[in-house]
Amino acid sequence: MGEDLAIAVRGLRKSYGSLNAIDGVDLDVRRGEVFALLGPNGAGKTTTVEILEGYRDRTAGDVAVLGEDPAHPSDRWRTRIGIVLQSTSDNADLTVGEVVRHFHTFYPAPRDAAAVISAVGLSEKTDARVRTLSGGQRRRLDVALGILGDPELLFLDEPTTGFDPEARRQFWELIERLKAEGVTILLTTHYLEEAEHLADRVAVILDGRILEVSPPASLGGRAGAATTVRWLEDGRTRTVQTDEPTRTVLELASRLDGEEIPELSVLRPSLEEIYLQMIGTAERSPL
C-alpha cells in the first residue's frame, strides 16, 4: 500500500448471516485530507468506520489503516489514531478536567490537556461534572478526547449532532486547524453543508456500496449540471434550467435593455440536491 494513503480498503465485505451490510467497498483516504462518508441511516457508514477503527471484524477484503490491519490493533497503533464515537454517556460523575487529564495518561506523546480543553471551547467547564454538560458540550468533550493523543488520523462519527449553528462553526474552525496541522480526518455526517465546507472529497455509500467518490463540487456531475436561473417578469417568477447560465443572463439583460433584472438569482444545484438525487435514483433502480 502506498505511503501517501492513510486508509486503503479493497473489496471490503461484512455479512451478518445472509445480509451483506458492506458489499464490496473500495476506499482510499490520502494522508492530510478530510474525507467525508455520506449516506442514509443503515447504509453502512458506521459499520465501515468501525471496521477501520478496529471495533468490528470484517468478512472479507484487504484493509490497511496507517499501514496496519485494524483487525489486529496494537497499542502503539492506537496511539496514532483518534476516535470520536457516536453519542455515549460515560464518565458522568467526573469533571471535564478529570476526564481529560485521565485519558492524557494513556498516550506516549499527548497534546497539552488544558490546551485541548480550550481548543474545544470547554475551558470554563473544566471543573463541571460531565453529567451537567449540554449535548453539544458533551460532544465537544468527545472531540477533545479524540484529539488528545495527537493522532495522525482522526475518525469523527457524526461529530456535530446536537450542535447549534455557532457551535458548529466553531467546530469547523477546529477541524480546519487540525487539517492545517496535517491530521487526516475521516468524517461521517448527516449535514451536507458540513461535508461541503470541510471535506476535500466525499464518498456516497448506499446499501453497503460506494456510489461515487469525488470532491464535493463535482459530486454526481454537479460541476456540469444544469443551473437554475430565476427572475421576475410581468409579475411572475420565471425559471430556466440551463447549462450556460452566463449566456442566459446576458440574453435576459439585453432583452430588458440593460435594466436591472428583477429578483435575479443563479443557482447551482446544492450538494444536498445532488445527494438526494443520487440516493433517490439508486433506490429506484432495480439493483
Binding site: 497499542d75 492506537r78 464515537l85 455515549t88 495518561t105 498516550y107 478526547l145 495522525e152
Partner: protein
C-alpha cells in the same frame, strides 16, 4: 519516489518514538478514577457500606444469644466472620458483575477500547477499587461489631496473618469472577436481577445467615463448590476460638483446602476473563 532526505522523516519511520506509558502508571491512573467515580456514586456506597452494616445491626440484635455452650461464642461473632466473607462477594463479585455491564452499555468500555489503554490496566483499576472498598467495608463492620456487639478481634498475630491472606485470595477470586461474570448479562439494566440472587442464595447456603453445621448436607455439598463457603470457613478460623472448629463438618478449619479452592477459582476466573471478556455490547462485532 525514493527520496532519502534525513530532514523529512517519513510518517512510517518515526525515529524517536516516545515510550508507551507503563502498565503500573496506567493501572494507578485507572484505579484513581475508579475510586473517584465510586465515592461519587450513591448506589455503590449504599450497597457496599450501609447494607452490610444494616444486616449486622439487625441480625446482631435479633440473635443476641450464645450459639455454642462449649465455646461461649455469640451469634454476632459468628455473623461478623460471615459478613466479612460476604463483603468480598459484595465488593468483588456483585459490584463488578453489575457495574461492568453498565459500563459496557454507557460507552465507557467502547471508548477505552479505542485508546491504547491495555485491558490489563482496566482490570487492575478494578482491583484497586475492590481493594479500597473492601478494606473500608471490613473496617466498618469490625468497628460496628466491636462497638455494639462486643465482637472480639483476632487474638494472635498468626490469626491476623491468616486474615490477610484470606482477604488477598478472596479479593483476587471475587474480582476475577465478577469481571468474568460481567459478560453474561445482556444489558446493564438486567444485571442486578441476575447477580443479586446468586449472592443471596450463596449467603444462605454457605452459612452466613445460619450456622453452617445445621444446614442439610446436600446444601453443604452444593455450597462447597463455590468460594463463599470456603471464605466463610476461613474467616471463622480467624474470628472464632479454635474450640469451635469441632463443629465444622471436617472437624478442623481446613485452611490448606480453603487456600487450594480459592486458588483454583482464581485460575478459573483469570482464564474466563482472558477468553470471554467483551468490550462491547452483544452483537456489536
Amino acid at each position: 519516489m525514493t527520496t532519502t532526505s534525513p530532514a523529512t522523516p517519513g510518517p512510517s519511520s518515526p525515529p524517536l518514538q516516545a515510550p508507551m506509558p507503563s502498565l503500573l502508571t496506567l493501572s494507578l491512573s485507572r484505579g484513581r478514577v475508579e475510586l473517584l467515580m465510586f465515592v461519587r456514586d450513591r448506589r455503590s456506597m449504599v450497597f457496599t457500606f450501609i447494607f452490610p452494616v444494616m444486616l449486622l445491626l439487625i441480625f446482631g440484635s435479633v440473635f443476641n444469644g450464645s450459639i455454642s455452650k462449649v465455646a461461649g461464642v455469640t451469634f454476632s461473632q459468628y455473623f461478623v466472620a460471615g459478613m466479612i466473607a460476604s463483603g468480598l462477594m459484595y465488593s468483588g463479585f456483585q459490584n463488578l458483575a453489575i457495574q461492568i455491564p453498565m459500563e459496557r452499555e454507557d460507552g465507557t468500555l467502547k471508548r477505552l477500547a479505542g485508546t491504547p489503554l491495555p485491558q490489563a490496566a482496566y482490570f487492575a483499576g478494578k482491583v484497586v477499587l475492590v481493594l479500597a472498598s473492601l478494606l473500608a467495608q471490613v473496617a466498618l463492620l469490625l468497628a460496628v461489631g466491636v462497638a455494639f456487639f462486643k465482637v472480639k478481634l483476632p487474638s494472635t498475630p498468626a490469626k491476623w496473618l491468616d486474615f490477610g491472606w484470606l482477604l488477598l485470595l478472596g479479593l483476587l477470586a471475587c474480582t476475577l469472577l465478577g469481571i468474568a461474570f460481567s459478560s453474561i448479562p445482556k444489558t446493564g439494566r438486567g444485571a442486578p436481577a441476575l447477580v443479586s440472587p446468586i449472592v443471596l442464595v450463596l449467603q444462605f447456603t454457605s452459612g452466613v445467615f445460619f450456622l453452617y453445621n445445621q444446614l442439610p448436607s446436600w446444601m453443604q455439598h452444593m455450597s462447597a463448590l463455590f468460594p463463599l463457603k470456603w471464605l466463610c470457613q476461613g474467616m471463622r478460623s480467624v474470628f472464632l476460638p479454635d474450640s469451635f472448629m469441632y463443629t465444622e463438618p471436617a472437624g478442623t478449619w481446613e485452611l490448606g483446602r480453603v487456600a487450594l479452592v480459592l486458588l483454583a477459582w482464581i485460575v478459573v476466573g483469570a482464564i474466563a476473563c482472558a477468553t470471554t471478556f467483551r468490550w462491547q455490547r452483544h452483537g456489536e462485532r
